[in-house]
Symmetry: C2
Subunit: 162 residues, 2 copies
């Protein structure tokens, strides 16, 4: 199954696409959609939507996975993020993709096996699980890949494989 992971952000939205049978994962593509900070927020949302639609068109995933909004963060930041997340969910729904939503704890646990793992540990495990030799240059793309792996291992696919 091909899974698109999305790491929403007002300035940088990371994405990562993997092929997975629930146990073994292979990288298809990764990247970051940057929205220009100087532009009006609604224009930036349009840039993010355009970028995500392009990724979906080019990589043709069957499912998408995103993290839940964490309520604990600064409220203003969380509200901004929720706008971006609304746009991402819309894009996923309009493309007809199955959607999985996971807490940061679930993502870390499924990738590192430990819910309080540091960002660096997550990155390292993502690299290792995907058999990547080089470091993943973008933290946002690494986070997107982590949530894609989480979906592949925790969703129906993962349950079937274990």
């Amino acid at each position: 199954m091909r899974v698109l992971g999305i790491d929403c952000g007002a300035e940088r939205t990371g994405y990562g696409v993997i092929d997975s049978d629930g146990r073994e994962h292979r990288l298809v593509t990764l990247g970051v959609i940057r929205s220009r900070p100087g532009r009006p927020f609604e224009q930036r949302l349009a840039e993010i939507a355009r970028g995500l639609r392009e990724v979906i068109l080019q990589s043709v995933p069957q499912a998408a996975a995103v993290e839940e909004v964490f309520h604990a963060a600064n409220v203003k930041t969380a509200l901004k993020l929720a706008h971006v997340r609304g746009v991402a969910l819309l894009t996923v729904a309009e493309a007809g993709l199955e959607l999985g939503e996971y807490s940061p704890l679930e993502v870390k646990t499924s990738v590192v096996g430990y819910g309080r793992a540091e960002k660096q540990q997550v990155q390292m495990m993502v690299r290792s699980l995907l058999g990547l030799e080089r470091e993943i240059s973008s933290e946002d793309a690494a986070d997107a890949l982590a949530v894609a792996i989480c979906h592949a291992t925790r969703g129906e696919l993962g349950r079937a494989a274990s």
Copy 2:
């Protein structure tokens, strides 16, 4: 100028379109986009986007106006609302409309002349300003018309007319 006011909500998104020269306003259309509560949230976001695009296609506004998110509300509710608002802003941006964002205080002040006005007073003034004989059946549509009137009177148009 033709202005589309949007009152975002996860279950009911009100809309109202007016023609205005900054002083006199005329109702073009009003209504509510209902998203079915039983469906997955991302599907409901897609229903809202579809509804808004249809309104824009049919009424061809030049500008859109929405209320700012009020941070004070219940955080979970505010986050949900922000998702819907993200979708609304995206729809507006992709339709190439000018966008105005106003605080509840600004909307009430511009419609009733008093920032702490009750919902009923806002409704009554909206009816009066638009010369409507009948009550506006939907509170959400009335709120959408209020923010459209706010844009028309407080935006460049309003400054030119006063």
